[in-house]
């Protein structure tokens, strides 16, 4: 049987791989438990922070030159603000910098008289944009001021027997057709490609470094080369092992992430902005895209491991390579799903776009076809490279 020896090598390598606790950790435990746990911790703290921020009463200073105006009374009625009198602007600014006050509102002397005369006037708000609580205080003051403005405008219009509708000849009615599921999928489409690419790539490193550089280091490679297996058969067996491990890590990361977001835990629902669901065609497309992506990762990792003299050197050479994977993966958080056809042939990015599109229910046959075809070609080239390296004596016996 053709490539029978590849299967023998593959079976042996997998046996060894799954006897290694580091492999179990990086392919199953980390993507299925640790990553969801980190998301839970992150969601919990962001949610906690949000709740605290909404409930906390913020201390606001007031420089009231007017003396008896309706705005200061209006602001004092806002129970999310604690109003304290301040004497001058310099003191106000210092207290904001010292975080004793979160913002200061300055009301001019003619404020009330100008309003009473149906004139416009100004209110100054001092705050520190680099401080989160100060920014929140400014937003609360702005909201109160908007309510105050509405009240004044309504009063003025009613005094002139006019309806407030006169201000809005055309009213825009917005309706978001996205379901809560779609919003969840949008969030997932930002996170999943990142996690999937990183887990798939890093999940295969332990096995990849052990399988070639490790064999050189232990002195078992020579023994294997003297066996009846050809170098091509050996490379295919080892390559399939790395591919299996990378794919397992990627699939584990999908399962871990989707299951935890659907678990109903409050922290995950908060992170997902609602529930999320993925259709079967989306899952199928993601799985189909994972295959060439992981083939490419496996071939690149095998080529690197083959070239390295030992596992330590493989790890050193691996560091700059990680940038080429982590940076495009991180773009997943900022890029939208829709893009031009050119992106379908950019290595790695095409996979990230395709996964994002699948999660958002976008199925463009031309983009899918080009992305899959180009990824298979890149994976093929990477496999040819690792095979060529494995056949070069100066690489196998580098000293």
């Amino acid at each position: 049987m053709a490539f029978k020896n590849s299967l023998i090598v593959y079976r042996k390598e997998l046996t060894e791989a799954f006897r290694d606790k580091r492999v179990i950790y990086s392919t199953i435990i980390s993507p299925m438990l640790v990553i969801p746990l980190l998301w839970w911790v992150m969601g919990y703290f962001i949610m906690q922070r949000n709740t605290e921020s909404n409930q906390e009463v913020l201390k606001i200073g007031m420089i009231d030159h007017s003396g008896n105006d309706k705005l200061s009374a209006f602001l004092k009625n806002d129970n999310t603000l604690d109003i304290t009198p301040v004497t001058d602007v310099a003191d106000a600014q210092q207290q904001i910098r010292d975080r004793k006050l979160r913002a200061v509102v300055e009301i001019p002397q003619q404020f009330q008289s100008q309003l009473d005369a149906d004139q416009n006037t100004q209110v100054q708000v001092y705050f520190d944009r680099s401080n989160e609580k100060s920014t929140t205080a400014e937003q609360r003051v702005e909201k109160s001021l908007t309510d105050f403005n509405d009240k004044i405008v309504n009063d003025r219009l009613s005094r002139h027997n006019l309806s407030k509708d006169i201000l809005k000849p055309v009213e825009l009615k917005e309706q978001n057709v996205a379901s809560s599921d779609s919003m969840g999928s949008l969030i997932l489409s930002a996170i999943l490609p990142y996690i999937l690419v990183l887990m798939g790539f890093f999940g295969g490193t332990t096995v990849a470094f052990d399988i070639a550089a490790g064999e050189k280091e232990r002195g078992t490679l020579e023994t294997l080369l003297v066996s009846s297996a050809t170098r091509t058969e050996i490379v295919i067996g080892k390559f399939l092992t790395i591919f299996t491990v990378c794919s397992l890590a990627a699939v584990s990361s999908i399962v871990g992430l989707v299951l935890t977001f659907q678990s109903g835990l409050k922290a995950f629902s908060f992170m997902a902005k609602g529930k999320m669901s993925i259709s079967y065609p989306s899952v199928a497309l993601i799985v189909v895209m994972i295959i060439p992506l992981m083939l490419m990762f496996a071939a690149v990792l095998l080529a690197l491991s083959t070239f390295a003299r030992n596992q330590k050197e493989a790890q050193t050479m691996f560091l700059p390579l990680t940038l080429f994977v982590t940076m495009p993966a991180a773009l997943s958080f900022v890029l939208g799903a829709e893009t031009t056809l050119k992106s379908s042939v950019i290595p790695l990015m095409n996979g990230i776009y395709l996964i994002k599109q699948a999660l958002q229910g976008i199925f463009d046959p031309t983009f899918i076809g080009l992305a899959l075809l180009s990824s298979v070609i890149y994976a093929g080239l990477a496999i040819v490279l690792s095979l060529a390296l494995f056949n070069r004596e100066e690489v196998l016996f580098r000293s």
Partner: protein
């Protein structure tokens, strides 16, 4: 039978340029006898044996093993040789049994044959106590026994030994020596590289002295003594390598 004819290997080194690791060597090893490739470190022993084992491709010249050419029929050559070196490692996460089964399968043996042969090897190499444990828990001597069993599971007619006792204690070295003598009794063709004179004196029927990638002399121990006029093998070796005693005695 091993026949090497004008075998050469040239490496390209960034600093040193072209390095002729093996430079046109020729020799024959016959069935039922042990041919020693005696040389200092860096003389070209390992490169020669790696070419015979098809791990490296000769730059020029040719070699046949059991009638198969190492360049044209490497797969057939590999099926006829057993290779053991002092630096050979074992797979730490496999048991000795699993490791031997693995190589048996790679040599195309049926599972029943592997089982029968490995059980026999476990007995004759006294491996029963550790055959199911993991290789990374074994002592150096035990690991070397695993390597021996691995190298002969396919019952090759030709054995290649590359400094097989390097780094081993006396007991383990003795196991290897006995094993090699048994191979000779079974009529195998054996090539044995070493720089240890006592091993050559004890084991080898014919000696090829290799220095700077070239064979300086080939013959039995007696023939080399007569050729150099020295009795001690160490002195025979040094004289053949052109490193004989100087006027100052060094």
């Amino acid at each position: 039978m091993i026949e090497a004819s004008n075998l050469s290997k040239v490496f390209t080194d960034k600093k040193r340029g072209e390095v002729r690791a093996v430079d046109g060597i020729s020799f024959k090893c016959r069935p039922g006898s042990i041919f020693a490739l005696l040389g200092a470190n860096g003389a070209g022993k390992t490169t020669t044996l790696r070419m015979l084992a098809t791990i490296l491709t000769p730059t020029s010249g040719e070699a046949t093993i059991a009638g198969y050419n190492v360049i044209d029929e490497p797969a057939k050559v590999r099926s006829k040789i057993g290779f053991l070196s002092g630096t050979t490692g074992v797979y730490g996460k496999l048991s000795p049994r699993e490791m031997i089964e693995y190589f048996g399968r790679l040599y195309g043996l049926e599972d029943s044959v592997i089982k029968q042969r490995s059980e026999h090897l476990f007995d004759i190499l006294n491996m029963r106590d550790f055959v199911n444990g993991r290789c990374d828990k074994l002592s150096t001597g035990q690991k070397q026994k695993v390597s021996i069993a691995r190298s002969i599971i396919h019952e090759p007619p030709v054995m290649i030994f590359d400094e097989p006792t390097s780094g081993l204690d006396v007991m383990s070295s003795r196991t290897i020596m006995t094993f090699i003598e048994n191979c000779r009794k079974q009529g195998k063709t054996i090539i044995y590289s070493t720089h240890i004179m006592s091993e050559v004196e004890r084991l080898c029927d014919e000696i090829g002295v290799i220095h700077n990638g070239q064979i300086r002399a080939i013959g039995t121990l007696q023939q080399l003594r007569e050729q150099t006029g020295e009795q001690n093998l160490e002195m025979v070796f040094l004289k053949l390598c052109g490193e004989g005693r100087t006027e100052n005695g060094f």
